[in-house]
């Protein structure tokens, strides 16, 4: 499917794009970007995987990003059958207790990647089977990859 077809397909699932925060963009990126609100994330993801036309069965990258104001997660999806790619972005303004839905039940690889994001950005994924620190020790304070993280002893700034 081309990007336009993908966009139309996804739009057809959400008659009210405003309510689900659906925004498409192809600027400044080589993929079609879809932004979605956290509440519809799981729904969109399961549709993207389940639908035969889209069939995104390969989550090849899951990135946590600190957008400054918001904390977000970027999902890079690819279909091994149709070989089309899509980027799904979701972000939450809550920096204190950010919570997103897990996609580890859709793609098993997300289990580890979400733990990594939890470790470095502090985003909690609901219904994740094993939501605990992966790299850092359990008593580590703060989330190192956030932009406002400060550690004067271990971080060398230039």
């Amino acid at each position: 499917m081309t990007n336009e077809e993908l966009q139309r397909k996804i739009e057809s699932w959400y008659p009210d794009p405003e309510a689900s925060g659906l925004v498409f963009s192809e600027e400044e990126s080589q993929f079609l970007n879809v932004s979605i609100s956290p509440k519809d994330l799981y729904d969109l993801m399961s549709k993207l995987k389940a639908d035969d036309d889209t069939y995104f069965d390969y989550l090849f990258c899951l990135t946590g990003v600190d957008w400054g104001e918001e904390l977000g997660v970027v999902y890079h999806l690819e279909s091994t059958q149709h070989r089309h790619q899509l980027v799904v972005k979701v972000s939450t303004p809550d920096r204190e207790h950010p919570v997103l839905a897990t996609v580890s039940s859709i793609w098993k690889t997300a289990e580890f990647h979400e733990r990594e994001v939890f470790d470095f950005f502090g985003i909690n994924f609901t219904d994740h089977p094993n939501m605990k620190r992966l790299f850092l020790t359990d008593e580590w304070e703060g989330y190192p990859l956030r932009k406002d993280y400060e550690d004067e002893i271990n971080m060398i700034l230039k």
Partner: protein, 373 residues
Amino acid sequence: METTTVKSNFKSEEYFINMGPQHPATHGVLRLVLTIDGEIIKKVDPDLGYIHRSIEKMCERDSYQQIVHLTDRMDYLSSNINNEAVCLAVENALELEVPDRVKVIRTIIGELTRISSHCLWWGVMGMDVGALTTYFYGFRDREMINDIMEETCGARLTMNYNVPGGLMFDIHPNFVPRVKKFITHFKTKIPEFDRLLTNNVIFQKRTRGVGILSKEDAISFGASGPVGRASGYSCDVRKYHPYSALDRVTFNEALQTEGDTFARYKVRIQEFWESLSIIEQLIDNIPEGEHRVATKAVIKLPKGEYFQKVETARGELGVYVISTGTKNPYRFKFRSPGFSNLSLLNHIAVGGKIGDLVATMATLDLVIPDIDR
């Protein structure tokens, strides 16, 4: 009544055992918390972070030229391919067309790196299943590649040979003859590998039917590289998203369907041949020209997001750059193949014995700094 007392006397329970962080089979500081019932593995829980250096955070502070050398320290066995990934991402973002010569040399060196990585893997694989001698035979051939690299790049492991815009310096005049010599040498050695290890009845018994990964699970777990291809999942980035000079060579994607440890082993042995054939197609046709396009001293990527995939010896390495137009990236993410491949270890090792876990881990070919970026 009496039978029950006998039964309670033989009560068995599961217990935990720490495999690593210092353990010969984990090839680095990986810690696996195993739940074991006798010899049978019930659960594998990886505990990471023993050598995490937070390269992604360091990238946010470094310039794009400096980031390249950090990738050497991720998957150090395919450091050249990692370098190439970052350089390609930067060049794509700058819309910089590198000369043909650079593309061909990058591809040749990438394939040499793959062979050398697989040589090491082969030696270590043999060692993990108990045949200690393979290690030295693998290293003998790897040593030749290391010498080639050292003569051209100056370093044996962390080359940092690629720079955004091309190569740091041109290839050494001895490069081509040495590579040709290596090809003829190595072609006689792969059959020897087969005779020593592949066909060995003990080795086959140890690996066949062990650690089976189905195609669906391989995709779902994000397996890539030889691990995915052994399950029949065609996932070679060199085929689907060719980069550098890979679009002008013909090669077969090494595919197996069984998905067990032996299939992963076979895929890598097959990749020896494919990589040799790629090098052979290119080595005589290195175009003349510049080895580098001048870039600005301070590289600023235009605002936007860039993603570049390459196929390292371990699988698909993704480089995801978010730039805000400054000289440092806003976010630099490495999608490392080892991390995804590790996540499926629990899935395929459960139910096997300790020996199976070691053999399975050997074919996942984990490089811990790649996981612990």
